[in-house]
């Protein structure tokens, strides 16, 4: 089984995502990075699901099902996220994350 390879790919994607979230200034790019992280998680789930693929294993489809759920949640998250981005842009005429500092204490 090529589980290791999948996990490595997933870890690479995840780290890429984290890097993007932490360093990119543009809000849309940050959102895209978050999508990368979610994709990494999905790869993990599907990989583990495929590992448990014997017909008698009661957990054999759980990974896939979880991946589907994650896709759904991700779609919703993007919808909400883009709406927020749009509003931020309207209010501050900028999509730069550093400009969105209303929460500063």
């Amino acid at each position: 089984m090529l589980l290791n390879q999948f996990l490595l790919l997933s870890a690479f994607l995840f780290c890429t995502g984290i890097y993007g979230v932490l360093t990119r200034k543009h809000t849309v790019l940050v959102l895209m990075s978050i999508e990368l992280m979610l994709a990494a998680v999905n790869i993990n789930l599907v990989a583990f699901g495929a590992l448990h693929n014997s017909p008698t294993d009661p957990g054999r489809v759980i990974g896939q099902v979880f991946a589907l759920f994650v896709l759904t949640i991700a779609a919703a998250e993007v919808g909400v996220g883009l709406a927020i981005v749009l509003l931020i842009y309207r209010n501050s005429h900028s999509a730069d994350l550093d400009d969105a500092h209303a929460l500063k204490g």
């Binding site: 984290i18 932490l22 550093d98 204490g105």
Partner: protein
């Protein structure tokens, strides 16, 4: 056996109809009346089927038994087999389901069909059906027409629920529901104070008796427990337990007295009869259905249903103390006082109401003297002729007297205007008076014969006196309504008419006896808004006279059911299982002749007094004793005064004084000391606890929080990616910790 096994449909159909009328009635072309009539009609058909099948069941059992007896007679030389001469056992048809179960006690709802239930079901559905039809015309244009029909349906359903009940608890439910419907229908025109007062009075007075029913139901439960080890509300079980030797006589007696209180309340017995005349404030069809034919006999039905309890508890079978027991005495008193009060009423419906009280007294008396069959038989015949009379009175007021019920002011001479109403009313009167061979004769006579046969001679006299009075006051009522001069146009020449009136009537305190309760049929009030026939008395239309003729038919022929030589009533309807041996006496020709002669004497006396002007006219004006007697009757024996002013008044006063004393001496002191203590405590609390303790803590907490906040706000940079970094680092730290420690 379809009908016997499906008797639960009989109460269910009107119940469904009630819901339908209530929610959809107003949108229907005839305001829901069609649903009500159809439902009650269906119930009537089912009840007839049940009755027929029950009779077949009795007949089959008797035939089989007769065969067995014959075989037994043949084999008697060999051995004594069977042939005891007793009637065949006919088991009631019982179906029930569990309602709920608690701590091993199972409560059921179900139907128990035997002869008694079948015949009363027949009476209730028949009278209800006729009243439904009658009300189509009588209540036409009423502002609450739909509600009226809904309440009639609910009443029919609950009365039938009470009748078919197989346990006392279910009877209690039906009993309270009919009381509620009675309340709703008496107060149908509640906009006027006397009507709503009457409704309240009826409800509260019968509720007084209902306490007895509640106590009785609970006691009968323990009665069964004492007898069998398992408590039960089942009627058959209760009846069996009453005869059980392991139950003390005292317990049965108190149970019987508790149930007797319920009967007194519901069936208008002395001294709780005062609500029934006031209940005439309701629409007339309601009076006919509820306050003459069905609901008020619920008490008698209860007595008949649980008869073994009374039989054993009051030792009816073995009359001691000169043949007195509570039940017979109550009934006997009611016969006389009800009849006496009927003489001084000017309101035709009140005459009939007191007559109903008196006749219910006959039934309770019959139960009290051991004449079970006669009591139920009288219930059966009375329903027909009394409903006939009430509906006749309604027809008179509807078409003859401008919606008034006052015989002296607005009626008189109606015979020639309303011949059909007159003849049906006359038939009802003769039946009520007990003239051979109408229905009332047979049932009243049977009561008297059995009272004598069972050793209750005193009550034979009471019954005969009652028969005389009944005949006399009903003749007076017929005279005032249908004979003499028409007084309906009295608005114009009232003085003259009244003076004319006095010549006949020895009138004293004309207004004193006249309660204004019933003159609420004001045209245009809503009840009869589109009564387009104009003025002047005229015959009612067929919707009113049709039911009258049907009831008259039964008033004439129903009594033949138990005439000597036929005797079907006792054969078919007397319970034979878990019951006492009510052995009806043989018909007595002498007593029959005596009672008819006495009734004729009563009619003759009234005839002489009113038609011929003979006798002591204006006696009450000349003789102080007679005046006092009449005054007592007019004031209804001061029972209402006793209840509302003396009992309630004194209780109210005593309670108020007591409460005031407690208020002044106990509560005030408590409050004063509590107040002083509270002030002291308050000062202490303020100085020591509040100012020093609580304030210190609160202030300190606030300072600490403020400083901590000041430090922590530096962390809140407002930079999103800084937060994300912290998040990632924290997760990384956790992962590291997990890796190290596992």
């Amino acid at each position: 056996m379809f009908f016997l096994d499906h008797a639960w449909l009989v109460p269910l159909i009107p119940a469904v109809s009630f819901v339908i009328i209530l929610f959809f009635g107003k949108r229907m072309p005839r305001g829901g009346a069609e649903v009500g009539i159809a439902a009650v009609g269906a119930s009537f058909v089912l009840a007839c089927g049940t009755l027929v099948q029950w009779i077949n069941r009795v007949r089959d059992a008797d035939n089989a038994h007769g065969l067995g007896a014959a075989i037994g007679a043949i084999g008697r030389s060999v051995g004594r087999l069977g042939a005891e001469g007793s009637a065949a056992q006919v088991l009631p048809v019982v179906h029930h389901v569990t309602w709920f179960e608690n701590a091993g006690v199972k409560l059921t709802v179900g139907v128990q069909i035997d002869g008694l239930a079948a015949i009363v079901m027949f009476v209730v559905t028949l009278v209800s059906l006729l009243v439904h039809v009658y009300s189509l015309e009588y209540m036409r244009g009423d502002r609450r027409f739909t509600h009226f029909y809904a309440a009639l349906s609910l009443f029919t359903a609950s009365m039938l629920l009470l009748v078919v009940a197989d346990n006392t608890l279910q009877m209690l439910v039906g009993w309270e529901l009919v009381g509620l419907c009675s309340f709703m229908l008496i107060g149908h025109w509640w906009e006027e104070k006397p009507n709503s007062d009457a409704a309240l009075k009826a409800f509260l007075t019968t509720r007084t008796g209902d306490i007895g029913l509640l106590v009785g139901v609970v006691m009968s439960y323990w009665l069964v427990e004492r007898a069998t080890g398992h408590g039960s509300f089942n009627i058959l079980a209760v009846n069996q337990a009453a005869a059980s030797s392991s139950v003390g006589h005292t317990l049965v007696m108190w149970t019987a007295l508790a149930f007797l209180l319920a009967i007194i309340g519901k069936s208008g017995q002395f001294p709780l009869h005062t609500w029934l005349p006031d209940a005439m404030a309701g629409p007339t069809p309601v009076s006919a259905l509820i306050h003459a034919a069905t609901m008020v006999v619920a008490g008698v039905y209860l007595g008949a249903r649980l008869y073994p309890i009374f039989w054993h508890g009051l030792s009816i079978g073995t009359p001691g103390h000169g043949g007195l027991n509570a039940m017979a005495v109550i009934g006997g008193i009611t016969v006389i006082i009800g009849a006496a009060l009927a003489f001084v009423q000017d309101d035709i419906k009140k005459v009939l109401a007191y007559s109903t009280i008196s006749q219910l007294g006959y039934m309770v008396m019959a139960l009290g003297v051991g004449a079970w069959t006669a009591a139920v038989f009288h219930l059966f015949t009375h329903a027909f002729f009394k409903a006939d009379l009430f509906l006749g009175a309604g027809s008179v007021s509807h078409s003859g007297s401008h919606h008034s019920f006052d015989m002296k002011k607005d009626m008189g001479g109606l015979k020639k205007y309303m011949p059909q109403t007159f003849w049906t009313f006359a038939i009802g009167t003769l039946a009520l008076a007990g003239i051979f061979p109408l229905a009332g004769f047979w049932s009243k006579d049977e009561i008297l014969v059995n009272a004598g046969h069972n050793g209750y001679q005193a009550f034979v006299i009471v019954g005969l006196v009652g028969a005389f009075m009944t005949a006399a006051y009903m003749t007076r009522c017929v005279y005032l309504t249908f004979f003499g001069e028409y007084r309906g146009g009295a608005e114009h020449s009232e003085e003259h008419e009244l003076a004319d009136d006095d010549a006949h009537m020895a009138l004293v305190g004309h207004d004193a006896g006249h309660d204004a309760d019933h003159d609420k049929h004001i045209p245009g009030f809503g009840a009869h808004a589109d009564d387009g026939h104009g003025h002047g008395p005229h015959e009612s239309n067929r919707l009113l006279t049709g039911p009258l003729w049907v009831l008259s038919f039964f008033a004439v022929f129903a009594g033949l059911l138990n005439a000597p030589g036929i005797l079907k009533f006792e054969k078919w309807f007397q319970p034979r299982v878990a019951f006492v041996d009510v052995n009806p006496a043989k018909f007595s020709v002498i007593l029959a002749i005596v009672s008819v002669v006495i009734a004729l004497l009563g009619i003759g006396a009234s005839y002489a007094y009113y038609w011929l002007g003979a006798g002591p006219q204006r006696l009450t004006e000349r003789n102080a004793m007679a005046r006092a007697g009449k005054h007592l009757l007019v004031m209804k024996y001061y029972l209402d005064v006793l209840y509302t002013d003396i009992i309630v008044g004194s209780l109210k006063g005593a309670i108020a004084n007591g409460v005031y004393w407690v208020n002044q001496n106990v509560i005030d002191n408590v409050l004063n000391y509590a107040g002083k203590g509270a002030i002291g405590l308050g000062k202490f609390t303020y100085e020591y606890i509040d100012q020093r303790g609580v304030d210190g803590v609160v202030n300190g907490l606030a300072n600490v929080t403020g400083e901590a906040g000041g430090e922590l706000r530096k962390v809140q940079t407002g930079r999103l990616q800084f937060y994300a970094l912290i998040l990632v680092l924290a997760v990384g730290l956790f992962a590291l910790a997990l890796w190290i420690f596992t």
